[in-house]
């Protein structure tokens, strides 16, 4: 597991709520004290990587006439974070 992607998964699990990928970038950038545009592409890459493991679900929703990806942590994702907390 890529450590930076895991760090993002950890952040998502603490929020534990569905969120637009775009809002997530803004929140995560604030948390990491980074410029959102600088980390945007990496976050998109990590989200898809995490979805490849089945740890998050990326759902395309139509909001205000336009498609937007929503991020939802799965039970497997929550279990993985829990497991990693116990076994660093």
């Amino acid at each position: 597991m890529d450590e930076k992607a895991f760090e993002l998964l950890n952040f998502i699990s603490r929020r534990n709520a569905e969120i637009s990928a775009y809002d997530l970038v803004e929140e995560y950038a604030e948390y990491k004290r980074e410029e959102p545009q600088r980390i945007f592409n990496d976050i998109m890459r990590y989200l898809n990587y995490l979805a490849g493991f089945g740890f998050v679900r990326l759902e395309s929703r139509k909001v205000d006439d336009t498609y937007e990806t929503y991020v939802i942590i799965t039970e497997e994702g929550k279990r993985y974070v829990e497991h990693r907390r116990m076994v660093p």
Partner: protein, 434 residues
């Protein structure tokens, strides 16, 4: 890079104002602006793809085709857009597959069973190997004493060394070799399912889409597979592509034990296989996989790439002065900023005419007409955003949409993929008479 295109405005900072025939427009970045940032870099993949799409109608249409989004746990390219394509094929045979005719469908059922039992087979394999290993280890007194005393060695290294002694010892080596041989043999069957059955089943699931995609590409490429191959080669020079081809006639009609299948990974030397190298059949199911670089991920998953492609196409027109891609636009009427709307592509001509384009990959006529064209033109009317031409560019098949659907009173036009391939010409003609 085309300077007429305004694709990225700094979120939270930039607002552009334009005046079009007495109507003032305030143009804002949207929530999705960050995805558009790569368009401000001339050498980025999205810019190169859009530039290719402006000169190559097959490439333009390609990104409107039906595709699946696959996500894989690979950190460099985790998003794959997979396009199933069926090029010239035996229609009677493909009909039999659609009808699930017994004469061709038996191998699909077998493949499906193999895939359904894949997870169980892997577990069984691992459990058996682990059990046989344990059985052999327990014959060794030092391992048995660990169980009886309940005391583990202080370091795992001790166990590993003991294990290494057992495996390399000529007296016991044969037994471990036998366990591994059995393991590899069963693993081979699992790989066979992954490599052969999985592409077949996943292909059959999207056969209808593959047929529609193939028909569309052939129509646009004037029935030339060579032209399609050349376009894919150009796309492959910009972004990593992989390619898979399965001969459905080998698998389903002739039911060969070794059916033809080809896979190319990350290739720049690309050519679609037209005839099966095994049975000479022509019903080959192709899959073109685009491994999205990170600056393309959001553009693909949120459908911004088709909007940008249309925007770049419009910017080619001599009459067009500026093109905004995916922006929120508020009309300002009598000094009052009215409610705004998200506009996929907004073009302003040199003589200040306003072209609004709604872009969708949707291919169902009713949905495109009601949920895209009528819905959007009604909204624009409500907020007072007056345009000269409204165009809805959709994924409607070139075959079922030869005629233009027009709502004359609204100056609104519904276009399909055939029109997309010649959009600049169509719009140039339209501007002459509007």
């Amino acid at each position: 890079m085309n300077k007429k295109i305004i694709s990225y405005l700094t979120p939270g900072a930039s607002i552009e104002e334009r005046e079009v025939k007495g109507l003032k427009l305030r143009i804002h970045p949207t929530k999705h602006e960050r995805a558009l940032y790569p368009f401000s870099k001339p050498d980025s993949c999205p810019v190169k793809l859009c530039e290719l799409a402006t000169i190559d109608p097959v490439a333009r249409v390609f990104f409107f085709l039906k595709r699946e989004i696959l996500r894989v746990p690979w950190i460099y390219n985790p998003l794959i857009a997979s396009f199933p394509i069926l090029l010239p094929y035996d229609e009677q045979f493909v009909d039999l597959i659609f009808k699930r005719d017994k004469s061709v469908y038996a191998p699909i059922e077998v493949a499906q069973k193999d895939i359904d039992s894949l997870a169980d087979d892997v577990f069984k394999l691992e459990a058996e190997t682990f059990g046989l290993f344990m059985f052999e280890l327990m014959k060794d007194p030092s391992f048995r004493s660990m169980l009886t005393t309940g005391r583990l060695p202080k370091k795992p290294k001790v166990i590993l060394e003991r294990l290494d002694n057992l495996i390399t010892n000529p007296a016991t080596r044969g037994t471990f070799d036998e366990i591994l041989r059995k393991h590899h043999d069963r693993l081979g069957k699992i790989f066979e399912v992954l490599l052969r059955q999985l592409p077949l089943i996943s292909g059959i699931e999207v056969l209808k889409e593959a047929k529609e995609n193939g028909d569309t590409l052939l129509e646009i490429a004037e029935n030339s597979v060579q032209k399609i191959s050349e376009t894919l080669l150009r796309i492959g020079n910009i972004i990593p592509l992989s390619y898979n081809a399965v001969c459905l006639e080998c698998v389903l009609r002739k039911q060969l034990a070794m059916p033809f299948q080809a896979t190319l990974l990350y290739t720049k030397d690309f050519s679609l296989i037209e005839r099966c190298h095994q049975c000479s059949g022509r019903t080959i199911l192709h899959r073109i996989n685009i491994h999205a670089p990170s600056d393309l991920i959001a553009l693909i998953q949120d459908e911004r790439l088709p909007e940008a492609i249309v925007g770049y196409t419009l910017a080619q027109l001599e009459d067009v002065e500026e093109v905004f891609i995916h922006k929120k636009v508020n009309p300002v009427i009598n000094g009052i900023v009215k409610r705004g709307a998200q506009i996929d592509v907004l073009a302003i001509t040199k003589d200040k005419r306003l072209i609004i384009v709604e872009v969708t990959r949707q291919s169902d006529f009713e949905t495109v007409l009601n949920e895209e064209l009528i819905h959007k033109t009604t909204l624009l009317e409500q907020i007072g955003l007056k345009y000269d031409v409204f165009v809805c560019v959709s994924g409607l098949s070139p075959k079922i949409n030869h005629g233009l659907s027009v709502i004359k009173a609204k100056r609104a036009f519904l276009l399909g993929l055939k029109h997309l391939s010649e959009l600049e010409n169509w719009l140039a003609d339209r501007l002459k008479i509007t």
